[in-house]
Symmetry: C2
Subunit: 290 residues, 2 copies
């Protein structure tokens, strides 16, 4: 599968400027630059410090109370919250407010002006959560069981649904940093969920561009991308519900996108059997990067 | 001077969303986030590998021929180029094409369609140069002599003037990465100069926003910023020609901007005595970060 990534550059006679599918944004693809030498010492492989991990089972009191836990109940999942100082143990998924949040809920007192903007200053109102993806500290999603990845995606959906319903929330970002260089500060497998009082500008621009494409071509730009990439050299895999591909104007090396084949605008619209296929698709793509 | 940076956050009762001076771009200022703990091992201080540095004196043949060298000639500087396989030695400044360029000059044959765009693909036509700031491998600009920093700025100006005159060049970026984490691959003191066939989109947006400000307020937005920041808590220093300050909506920690006090649109408009003051200003700001 990794050959696909190599193929992208295989016939390049010159450095390419590639325009984004949607945005008026150009990316330089200069494959040779990755071969340049360095005189910096190679970094030692990051090792976790021996110490207490606040996201590991047993240390639940080191984080704020969970807003969501998944508990095993026979073959089913029972959903709960930490309340009245109590912390649930034996969870398979746990979602807690970030102890060092970028965005925080409006305070009771200032509720009315909580989201107010005053010229060039506004309160960073919203939510910032940490979703602990597994009780196991080092569980990389490429190695996790499909069942566990399915729990992760379902928990994203639960939080997305609740956060999106708040009146001051305009957008919910779900993202994951892996490793110190990517910005992670803890090595335990976790994602972050940020609910913001605005739509990020790049998303706004994509919305605008896709609306324009719709008007001009009477079809969805994302459906159009799938149609083209399915036939092309950047296809990574296709299954019953999803298409994974390396985008034409990648911003990062090894970047891949997973699109649902059926026109779908939200994770919340997805039926449960598709969630499992998504977990499988994600795992396959991530394994190829290892 | 570093207190100024601390002061920025001194009265923050909540995380702030700050709007850029010009762009419709908001930045979250969440000072507490920098205190979050990490379980990753602290990185070993980067050490240069014992090895041959292609930017050090004596290794001139390891790079393409210099497009500009500054040679000492008594108390003056003589400017020259490497030609016919000859490499100048004993330089104080040396500027060479990057051996792994992101942008390259149009080839003779394809000159006519060199800068042509075909839909979503274009040739990355332009220049990518490395400006070696000193013969001394480890000379940090905070420790360099004012004379040497003045050479550096003058060499920027020389290259800017020549590159900007090419018909396919629309913009020249001068930048410097310091350290592996900031994207540098060689530790020898150097800057990069990139001449591109387009104006970067953020610069375009700034131009548009400053034009709009001019129309609405009959004054220059940058002059207006200076006026306000000179009186404010973010001022770092002011001298006869320049004002240095931490911008209101910093994107990076410890970010600072240096503005000329006199309305000036290009480095090329600057008289020589101001160049020396700029070198002094730059050095003072960089020393404060050490």
């Amino acid at each position: 599968m990794l050959n696909v990534f190599k193929l992208i550059g295989f016939s390049m006679k010159f450095n390419e400027l590639r325009k984004d599918y949607l945005l008026d944004r150009w990316v330089v693809i200069a494959t040779e630059r990755s071969r340049r030498p360095t005189d910096f010492a190679k970094k030692k492989r990051e090792k976790a410090k021996a110490g207490v991990c606040p996201l590991c089972p047993g240390n639940e009191h080191m984080t704020p109370p969970a807003v969501l836990v998944y508990l095993k109940s026979g073959r089913k999942i029972r959903k709960a919250k930490d309340e009245n100082g109590f912390r649930h143990k034996n969870w398979v998924i746990r979602c807690v407010p970030n102890l060092y949040p970028a965005f925080t809920p409006p305070k009771q007192k200032t509720r009315k002006k909580g989201t107010a903007k005053h010229g060039d200053l506004a309160e960073a109102v919203g939510h910032h959560e940490v979703l602990v993806e597994s009780p196991r500290h080092n569980e990389h999603p490429a190695d996790a069981k499909i069942q566990q990845l399915t729990y992760v995606i379902n928990a994203y959906r639960d939080r997305l649904k609740e956060l999106a319903s708040k009146p001051y929330v305009k957008y919910v970002s779900i993202f994951r940093n892996h490793g110190l260089e990517a910005g992670a500060s803890l090595s335990h497998a976790h994602s972050q969920i940020i609910a913001t009082p605005f739509v990020p500008s790049i998303v706004q621009k994509e919305l605008k561009a896709s609306r324009k494409f719709w008007k001009q071509n009477k079809k969805c730009v994302f459906c159009n991308i799938i149609e083209n990439e399915k036939k092309g050299p950047r296809l990574i895999l296709e299954n019953s519900n999803f298409v994974a591909f390396a985008p034409w104007a990648s911003v990062n090396p090894m970047e891949f996108w997973i699109f649902p084949k059926k026109h779908e605008t939200s994770l919340l619209d997805m039926p449960q059997n598709k969630v499992e296929t998504l977990a499988q698709t994600l795992k396959t793509c991530l394994r190829a990067l290892k």
